[in-house]
C-alpha cells in the first residue's frame, strides 16, 4: 500500500469544504480552551460529544481531534504570557517561556513555540501515516487472548506513567474497573450493580463520568486556589525568531518531536508526559544547563514540540487497535461509537476516507494553527483575562446541558454531580483519576475478551502465556511493574515528577 496514495485520499477528505470548516472550528476551539486555564480538552470534548451526533463521521472526528492538538498550541500561550499553564501539558513551558516574557522576549517565545509545534505536528502526522498500516495488519492477527493481554499492558502502562504512588494508581484502576461493570452483563443478561435503577442498565455513561470527575470535580478544586492572572502584554512585537533562535532550537525540536512521538504511543502516554520527558532530556544534553529556568529558548521549543507530537501519535493505538491509550482517546472511541463505527483494525479498510482523512486533517489543522495563532494573539490575551469566577458557571451550565443531551435523561445530570464529588475527593486525597477513566473503558472489554479467550481454550488460563504475542505483551507488563517496584528506579521516578511540580 502506498502511503502517498493514502495521504492523497486523506487530503481530499480533509480539504472537502465541510471538513475544512469543522477542522477550523476544532482547532480554534481547541486553542481557546487551551488558552483558558481550568478548562481542558477532556471536558471540552466531553461537552461537545453530543453535538457531533448530527455530523458526518469524518467531520465529527476531525473536529474533536482538532480540539486536542489545538489545545496544545493554546496552552503554551498562557504558559508564556501568564506564568500559568493553560493546559496540563504546558506546565514545563511555564518555566522558561515566562522567563523569556519577563525579559521582554514574549514574542520570540511564542513564535518558537508555534514553530516547534508545527514541525512536530507535521512529523507526527507522517509517523501515524507510516506506522498505522503495519500495526493494523498485526492487529488483524490478534485473538481474544492477545487483546486481553494488550489491555493489561495498557492499564499497567497508564499506572506506571501516572503521577503519585503506585499503590493508589493500582487502587484507582480497580475502582475504574468496578465502575465499568455496572449495567447489564452482555453474555448472561444479568444486571450488575444497578441498585435497581433502570437508567443504570446500560452502564454508567462514560461522558457522565468524565464530565463529573474532570469537569465538575476540577472546577471545585480550582476554586480553592483562585488567583488573579495578569498577562504580560508588553513587547509582543518582534514575533520573528532570530537566526540564533533557529540555530539553537533545531536540535531540541527534533529531539522533542522524536521523544514525544514515542511517548505518545505508549499506553497512558500522550501530550503531558511527552512535554515533561522532553524538558528533562534537553536539560541533560544541553551545554549550558544553568540557563534552564531562566529563559532558555530550548526549554520552550523541546516540550512544545513534544506535547504536540505526543498528542497526535496517541491516536495510533486508538485508530489501529481500537484501544484508547489515554482518557482523551477514550472519548474519541466514544465519538466513533456514537457514529456507529466500531473502533478497531477494520476501520482502516472499511472507512479509508475517515481514517486517512483524520490523519491528513491533523496536518491541515497544524497549518491553520500556525497561521492563526500569532495574528490572533490579541484575542487570546483578552480571553486569558476573563476571570475564572465568570468562566466556571458557564462551564457548569454547558456540562449540565451536555450530559443531559447524550441520553436525554435527567438521571445523568444527578450522576454527574455525584461523580463531581467523587472527583473532588480523589483530588483532595492526591489520587490521579486518569487511570480510572481508562480502566472504566477497558474493564468491560477486558472481561469480554478474557471470557472469549478462556471459552476457546476450554477454561485453560495458560492460553494467555502459550500464545506468543500474548505472552510477550504480558511479559512486558510484568517487566514494567517490576521495574517500577524496584526501589532505586521508583526513587528516580519520584524525582522526575517532583521536578515538574
Amino acid at each position: 500500500m502506498d502511503v502517498f496514495a493514502n495521504l492523497l485520499l486523506g487530503l481530499q477528505t480533509a480539504l472537502a469544504p465541510l471538513n475544512l470548516l469543522y477542522c477550523f472550528v476544532g482547532v480554534l476551539l481547541g486553542t481557546a480552551i487551551g488558552v483558558l486555564p481550568g478548562l481542558g480538552p477532556l471536558a471540552t470534548i466531553a461537552m461537545l460529544l453530543p453535538v457531533t451526533f448530527g455530523l458526518p463521521p469524518e467531520a465529527a472526528m476531525i473536529m474533536l481531534a482538532g480540539i486536542y492538538y489545538g489545545a496544545q498550541y493554546g496552552g503554551s500561550t498562557t504558559a508564556i504570557l501568564v506564568n500559568l499553564p493553560g493546559e496540563s501539558s504546558s506546565v514545563v513551558t511555564v518555566l522558561d517561556g515566562h522567563q523569556m516574557a519577563r525579559k521582554g522576549e514574549a514574542g520570540r517565545a511564542l513564535a518558537v513555540a508555534a514553530m516547534a509545534s508545527f514541525f512536530a505536528g507535521t512529523a507526527a502526522t507522517l509517523v501515524i501515516a507510516l506506522f498505522a498500516p503495519p500495526l493494523t495488519t498485526l492487529a488483524l492477527q490478534f485473538g481474544p487472548a492477545e487483546y486481553f493481554s494488550l489491555m493489561v499492558l495498557g492499564l499497567i502502562g497508564s499506572i506506571v506513567l501516572s503521577h503519585g504512588s503506585l499503590l493508589h494508581a493500582l487502587g484507582i484502576v480497580l475502582i475504574g474497573l468496578l465502575l465499568g461493570f455496572v449495567g447489564i452483563d452482555v453474555t448472561s443478561g444479568t444486571g450488575r450493580f444497578t441498585f435497581g435503577f433502570l437508567d443504570l442498565n446500560d452502564g454508567i455513561g462514560f461522558v457522565t463520568l468524565a464530565m463529573g470527575v474532570f469537569g465538575i470535580g476540577e472546577i471545585i478544586a480550582n476554586l480553592e486556589k483562585e488567583e488573579s492572572r495578569k498577562a504580560i502584554m508588553k513587547s509582543l512585537i518582534g514575533l520573528m525568531p532570530t537566526r540564533e533562535d533557529v540555530r539553537r532550537t533545531v536540535g531540541p525540536i527534533l529531539r522533542g518531536t522524536a521523544l514525544g512521538s514515542i511517548l505518545g504511543i505508549l499506553p497512558g502516554g500522550g501530550a503531558m508526559l511527552a512535554s515533561f520527558g522532553a524538558y528533562a532530556l534537553e536539560k541533560k544534553v544541553s551545554k549550558h544547563p544553568h540557563e534552564f529556568g531562566h529563559g532558555a529558548v530550548e526549554g520552550v521549543a523541546a516540550p512544545e514540540a513534544a506535547n504536540n507530537a505526543g498528542a497526535q501519535t496517541s491516536f495510533i493505538p486508538m485508530l489501529t487497535l481500537g484501544i484508547p491509550s489515554n482518557a482523551v482517546m477514550a472519548l474519541m472511541v466514544g465519538a466513533m461509537t456514537i457514529q456507529g463505527i466500531q473502533p478497531g483494525p477494520a476501520v482502516m479498510t472499511e472507512q479509508p476516507a475517515l481514517f486517512w482523512g483524520l490523519i491528513a486533517s491533523m496536518w491541515v489543522g497544524n497549518l491553520m494553527l500556525l497561521v492563526l495563532n500569532l495574528p490572533l494573539i490579541g484575542l487570546w490575551v483578552r480571553m486569558i483575562s476573563i476571570p475564572y469566577h465568570l468562566l466556571f458557571p458557564i462551564i457548569v451550565v454547558f456540562c449540565a446541558i451536555g450530559v443531559f443531551s447524550l441520553n436525554n435523561s435527567t438521571f445523568d445530570i444527578f450522576f454527574m454531580a455525584i461523580f463531581g464529588l467523587f472527583g473532588y475527593v480523589l483530588k483532595k486525597l492526591g489520587a490521579e483519576p486518569t487511570p480510572m477513566l481508562l480502566a472504566f473503558i477497558l474493564g468491560p472489554m477486558m472481561e469480554e475478551y478474557l471470557r472469549r479467550a478462556l471459552l476457546l481454550a476450554k477454561g485453560d488460563p495458560s492460553v494467555l502465556v502459550t500464545r506468543p504475542i500474548s505472552a510477550l505483551l504480558l511479559g512486558l507488563a510484568a517487566a514494567l511493574l517490576v521495574v517500577v517496584i524496584l526501589p532505586a528506579i521508583s526513587r528516580t521516578r519520584r524525582v522526575a515528577f517532583q521536578e515538574d511540580a
Binding site: I220, E226, H389, A400, F404, G420, K428, R451
Partner: protein
C-alpha cells in the same frame, strides 16, 4: 495520640474497602460460572477482593509512613455547585431551560470568593442563557423545554400552538 500518620493513605484505603465490600456484597448472588464459562460474578469478585487487599495495605501504610494532611474541604463550593446541578436536573422539565440554567449559573457562581453581581456578570448571564436556548434547544434540538410544565399553565397560550 494520632496514630494515622498519612491521612491521605488512610482515607483512600477506606475508599478501597468501601468499594471492595460493596462489590462483594452486591455481587454475592451473581453466578461465578467456571473459568471456561465465566459468569457475571467472576471478574467483579476478583476486583472486589483485590480492592479489599489494597484497602488493607493502604490503611496499614498510613500508620507507618508520614504523609501530607488532606487539607481543608471546600464545603461551600461543593454544596453550591453540586446542589445547583441537582436543582437543574430537577427543574429542567418543570421550569424549563431559561429558568433552570439561570438558577444553575447563579447558584454555582457564589462558590467563588470573587463573586459579585456586577454589570459584566449580569450581561454574561443573559448572553449565556440566550446562547443555550438558541444553540442547544433551537439549533441542536436538545429536547429540553424552554418554558417548563409548571410555568406553561401560567402563560397565555403560545401563538401557533
Amino acid at each position: 495520640m494520632n496514630a494515622v500518620r498519612s491521612p491521605k493513605d488512610f482515607w483512600l484505603g477506606i475508599l478501597y474497602l468501601l468499594f471492595g465490600s460493596v462489590a462483594l456484597w452486591v455481587g454475592r448472588n451473581y453466578s461465578w460460572g467456571s473459568p471456561g464459562r465465566m459468569g457475571p460474578g467472576y471478574f467483579p469478585a476478583i476486583v472486589g477482593l483485590l480492592l479489599l487487599g489494597f484497602g488493607a495495605v493502604s490503611i496499614g501504610r498510613s500508620f507507618l509512613v508520614t504523609g501530607e494532611p488532606v487539607g481543608s474541604i471546600a464545603v461551600k463550593a461543593l454544596v453550591l455547585i453540586l446542589g445547583s446541578i441537582a436543582a437543574f436536573g430537577f427543574l429542567i422539565d418543570r421550569l424549563g431551560l431559561i429558568v433552570a440554567a439561570t438558577i444553575l449559573a447563579l447558584g454555582s457562581a457564589p462558590a467563588s470568593r470573587h463573586f459579585a453581581l456586577e454589570r459584566r456578570a449580569v450581561i454574561g448571564l443573559i448572553a449565556l442563557v440566550a446562547f443555550c436556548a438558541l444553540v442547544f434547544v433551537k439549533g441542536l434540538n436538545v429536547p429540553m423545554p424552554l418554558i417548563g410544565s409548571w410555568l406553561q399553565s401560567l402563560m397565555p397560550p403560545w401563538p401557533g400552538q
